[in-house]
């Protein structure tokens, strides 16, 4: 398939990027090339092949159902934010 400007704007929206015009233009060219490249999988016969999503050899990992002390405190974590008021992270208006 061919990637058009409207596809780039849709993907930018899904990805939460406010792209400039110049960047949208170069991404359109790059993504078109990349998608053409990855489309070569079309020629591979995968009839009756099960998908692999992970290569970890174990399944469920169990542990005792008890609370484990966390490495970072609430204060440590809130301290990473730009602006905190009354233990809440402050952001610009939502609506």
């Amino acid at each position: 398939m061919e990637i058009k400007r409207e596809d780039i704007l849709h993907l930018a929206n899904l990805s939460n990027f406010s792209l400039s015009e110049t960047e949208a233009e170069s991404l359109e060219k790059d993504l078109d090339g990349i998608i053409k490249y990855i489309s070569q999988l079309d020629e591979l016969d995968t009839e009756n092949v099960e998908p692999t999503y992970q290569v970890f050899e174990m399944e469920n990992v169990w542990r005792e159902d008890e609370i484990i002390k966390q490495d970072a405190s609430r204060e440590d974590l809130l301290g990473l934010s730009k602006e905190v008021i009354d233990h809440q992270i402050k952001v610009p208006k939502v609506l």
Binding site: L14, I35, L41, F56, D71, P92
Partner: protein
């Protein structure tokens, strides 16, 4: 490696490393150097030695930390603008284990932002220069770590390998680089890129150093449920007989001198009584396309957490929350981060999922099986790491496909979860290092490292 003792102090080792780091500052290796912290830690170890107390197996050994490992010492940036100002309150398990044995981090090393790249040119802080030729790239994404070891600044450095990010820079700089079996080393406290392929490993100057580090860093971690039960230290070193070479890689797409280096190593093995077996592995041809579907999909998911709200950089110019997300992510990510996130969202979006993501997951099954089949015939496989030695700065940075092709022989190991060790294999006629990789079945890490000594 040099370890502190009653004759050589940890402070001496650390000061020497810091002096060299400063001497080579034009290579742009470090995103952060912690002179004061490192010397303080060295003095603590020297005190212990003076008092005759037991010290660890890495006492006073200076090392460099790839800047995507969390530790409260210095900001963890992943060489990305969007993590600006982020100092982690937690420490990665790998860092804890190394430091419990007395290793001393002197600084954090440069990488392609979020480990997206094969040259370290995608760093917010600019590229790291190759240890053998300053006009060339360090390789990537762990370029800073590789050059720190190659220039003998530190004894070892940490890396992460999602598709070649340890092995390729190791080969571009003439040192050893290990991507262990998936799940061998805890990833707790390391910035996630693609969770089904990310591995933690090391850069060293010898196989013995690699073995020592793996014996320390490997093992199950309750904080990372994708770690395998400890096996590394209990592994019996297997006696190898048959070594495979991949016929599909012996063509014009691979640099002539690299193919010659491979042939030379095969001759060496033959002279030592090993049998060289030619393998056909046709599914590997599709590994790169499958990789650049699966990994961007996981990248899009893992990097959705960077929103400017909880930590790191926040765009100043936003009037509402939606704008804040979009502006922060637009200003905070590098172009390559954006490409991968958008490709990921493309292959996962409705209408394209079956044709891309599902198709790639099926291709992955064929790649896993291809390796299983190969290891039923041979003990290890010896292949090039990359199609060429270190390329020129700027040569590929604006051509994403050319950059992705760098990874064509390294990514299949990550998709299959098998270990790979990059080993030095001489230099080309211009003095650039050449590298090869030894590939083994899952959990063969220890034997693989031991076997690499046969190739020296």
């Amino acid at each position: 490696m040099k370890i502190a003792n009653s004759k050589v102090t940890a402070e001496r080792l650390v000061r020497d490393a810091l002096d060299k780091a400063k001497h080579f500052s034009d290579y742009n290796i470090f995103t952060f150097l912690d002179e004061e912290g490192a010397i303080k830690k060295a003095r603590e170890i020297d005190e212990k030695i003076k008092r005759g107390e037991k010290v660890g197996r890495l006492a006073g050994v200076p090392y460099a930390l790839k800047d995507n490992f969390l530790s409260p010492r210095g900001e963890t940036t992943a060489s990305a603008h969007i993590l600006e100002g982020f100092t982690s309150p937690v420490t990665a398990t790998a860092v804890e284990k190394l430091e419990a044995e007395g290793a001393i981090m002197i600084g954090r090393t440069n990488l392609d932002a979020f480990a997206h790249g094969s040259s370290t040119e995608n760093s917010y802080f600019g590229p790291t220069l190759n240890s053998h030729d300053k006009k060339r790239v360090a390789g990537g994404s762990s370029g800073g770590s590789a050059v720190a070891v190659a220039l003998d600044i530190v004894e070892f450095a940490t890396g992460t390998d999602t598709g070649g990010s340890i092995r390729q820079p190791a080969s571009f700089n003439g040192i050893y680089g290990l991507k262990p079996t998936y799940g061998c080393v805890s990833r707790y406290g390391v910035v996630a890129m693609a969770s089904s392929t990310d591995c933690i490993g090391f850069f060293t100057k010898s196989p013995d150093d690699m073995d020592l580090l793996m014996s320390i860093a490997s093992g199950q971690d309750p904080k990372d449920l994708t770690t395998l039960p400890d096996y590394y230290n209990d592994s019996k070193v297997k006696k190898a007989k048959k070594i495979g070479v991949v016929k599909d890689f012996d063509n014009e797409s691979v640099d002539k001198e690299i193919r010659e280096a491979l042939k030379k190593k095969c001759e060496l093995l033959k002279s030592k009584g090993y049998e060289i077996v030619e393998l056909e592995m046709p599914a590997l041809k599709y590994a790169l396309a499958a990789y650049y579907i699966i990994v961007p999909a996981e990248v899009a998911s893992n990097l959705s957490r960077y929103d400017g709200v909880r930590y790191g950089f926040r765009s100043e110019k936003s009037e509402d929350l939606e704008n804040l997300y979009a502006n922060t992510r637009d200003e905070g990510f590098m172009s390559e981060n954006k490409r991968r996130i958008m490709i990921g969202n493309f292959v996962l979006s409705s209408g394209f999922y079956d044709a891309y993501f599902l198709k790639a997951a099926k291709a992955r099954t064929l790649i896993v099986k291809e390796y299983e089949k190969a290891f039923s015939k041979v003990d290890y496989i010896l292949t090039p790491v990359s199609p060429n030695p270190a390329f020129l700065l700027g040569e590929k940075v604006n051509d994403p496909i050319a950059m992705y092709l760098e990874d064509m022989m390294s990514v299949s190991l990550n998709l299959a979860g098998v270990p790979g060790l990059a080993i030095p294999a001489g230099e080309n006629k211009n003095g650039l290092p050449l590298g090869l990789q030894l590939v083994g079945p899952r959990r063969s890490d220890k034997s693989l490292i031991e076997f690499s000594k046969e190739l020296i």
